[in-house]
Subunit: 324 residues, 2 copies
């Protein structure tokens, strides 16, 4: 199978490609070729048992999508996006990449005239207040950010292109990924990872919201598994509804900090400094707290069951299993 | 007030402009200028007490939107669309007009740098099965046509552009308009009007679906009133949710025919010929049967309360109140 990953230099894309090099198949289908594309050239995973091509490609350029599907990948992962904070700060750039880029990719597949699986990472940012404490499967996306709007439009396009038979699409609404390794990105949700990641490295972290903020999380490891599952499942089970709420862990900031203390001790959590930021608080108050993801769960999608498990997975994956 | 109506040669656009010529205001704001635009040059209403400009303009042309907002209309009605049947038959044309055209218009308003009211006619076609017998206000749009997809995307764009302060937008989900006067258009829903309109003219009409089909209707007269209301309401009452389910009449084909018989007699309904068409039946079985429109009703939007009232309004408006 020929696999294309767009956005392969991002955190989830990179981890997915590394895991693909280990598993060498998606579902029961062996991979014999992988193309990793991103605006900056991605790094190929070490020791992949299939050929890997890495390339710099900006999907907001209309001709690029065409070239990416020229060798007819059987499986296309479209993970590329301008993140929420940046799409809010730069209206044109967000629409150019997140809407035009996605549409150009879908259109290029249609023009290529074959029918690959297309996995599109959407987000819980498609939902905006007011919503119930647990957002039902049938709840209307009413985004309160341009990023969420662009993702919701991507879902609609994917469903229509799939219905018309131009490709076999699945849109997955990722929970907020936490704990993100590495440096903070421009996502407004970045502090959720920061308050766990930095203290575990012995560094200070700022918490800009109140402890009672509740949100919906999955680990990078869970996100990688979601991508494998989305590539592998029998899409006829989806019917006409091509978008899935994915499972996650619903937890408050206070519970996150308590879990961190259980795992890494009282000194560690002292590194979290509370600096309320009304702007971020207002943003976050409009974010989902819990989703009904029964449909995805019935299809086999699995997340962690507690935030402590998310922290332990982070320590295994990023600290070799050992807290400093 | 300077008013722009795009799609002014269509049935609803034409009737709205004629009514505007009579009322000469929207809410309590007097109109002093009206521009009527469409792909074919619209016909100006007779006796308008304000200046009327008619022009041929194709909003799928990127430069046209800019010229349409050059004189900064205070109120923009965007009614232009490729209808459902045609958008399904011609994928590119549907996306070009219904998505690109709408987006170009919104973008032109943003670039013009002022903040008009923008009224966008969306449709119950944003909903697709499975859905409950009465579709709740918060129900997710999952269109099963490209037309419905394009309308749902238009709603999302309108909400985001409004949230960012680029304009003051309202999207109204029109019920199926019935009884449409004149000749059949390419909408797949055309027969709903045909089985009333043609018999009232003494002509035969074909019914391609079963009598138990239930659907959601409003008259052209109600649609015109919806446009006035959408132009007049205080949009701060909408909060962040800029899309309204509009009220309508939920009725079955059998009840429609019974109402026609009560109004126009047994001979009239004999002109309806049942010719089941499995393709149309399958289409229609995926259409909404009833919507919760409590939010719009609380804001003052009103439809007919029975299908008989819809027929009587049609006879008043199109037959001078007299059945032949």
């Amino acid at each position: 199978m020929n696999v294309l990953v767009i956005g392969a230099a991002g955190m989830v894309g990179r981890k997915f490609c590394e895991e693909l090099a280990k598993r060498s198949s998606i579902g029961n289908k062996p991979v014999d070729r992988l193309t990793m594309a991103d605006t900056i050239t991605p790094v190929a995973p070490i020791g992949a048992p299939f050929s890997v091509r890495t390339l710099s490609a900006d999907i907001s350029d209309a001709t690029v999508a065409e070239s990416l599907v020229a060798d007819r990948p059987d499986m296309i992962y479209h993970l590329a996006a301008i993140v929420s904070g940046e799409a809010e700060a730069d209206f044109d750039k967000g629409y150019q990449v997140n809407l035009n880029g996605t549409r150009q990719l879908f259109e290029a597949v249609r023009q290529a005239g074959y029918r690959p699986r297309v996995v599109f990472t959407s987000s819980i940012a498609v939902f905006g207040t007011p919503f119930p404490e647990t957002i039902p499967e049938d709840f209307a996306p009413r985004p309160l950010t341009s990023y969420g709007t662009q993702k919701a439009i991507g879902e609609l396009l994917l469903a229509d292109f799939s219905r018309r038979g131009f490709f076999d699409g699945i849109a997955i609404r990722l929970p907020t990924i936490c704990v993100r390794p590495g440096r903070p990105n421009k996502a407004a949700s970045g502090f959720f990872s920061g308050i766990i990641r930095e203290p575990l490295k012995g560094e200070a972290a700022v918490l800009p919201v109140t402890d009672d903020v509740r949100h919906w999380f999955a680990s990078p490891r869970a996100a990688v598994n979601f991508l494998f599952d989305a590539g592998a499942i029998d899409s006829t089970q989806l019917g006409s509804n091509r978008t899935l709420n994915l499972p996650g862990v619903s937890t408050t900031v206070g519970e996150m900090i308590a879990a961190l203390e259980r795992v890494a001790g009282a000194e560690c959590v002292k590194l979290i400094r509370r600096e309320p930021d009304p702007t971020i608080q207002k943003f976050v108050d409009g974010w989902p707290r819990r989703l009904d993801a029964a449909r995805a769960q019935a299809l086999g999608f699995k997340a962690e069951t507690s935030f402590e498990e998310i922290i332990r997975n982070h320590i295994e994956d990023e600290h070799g299993g050992v807290v400093a």
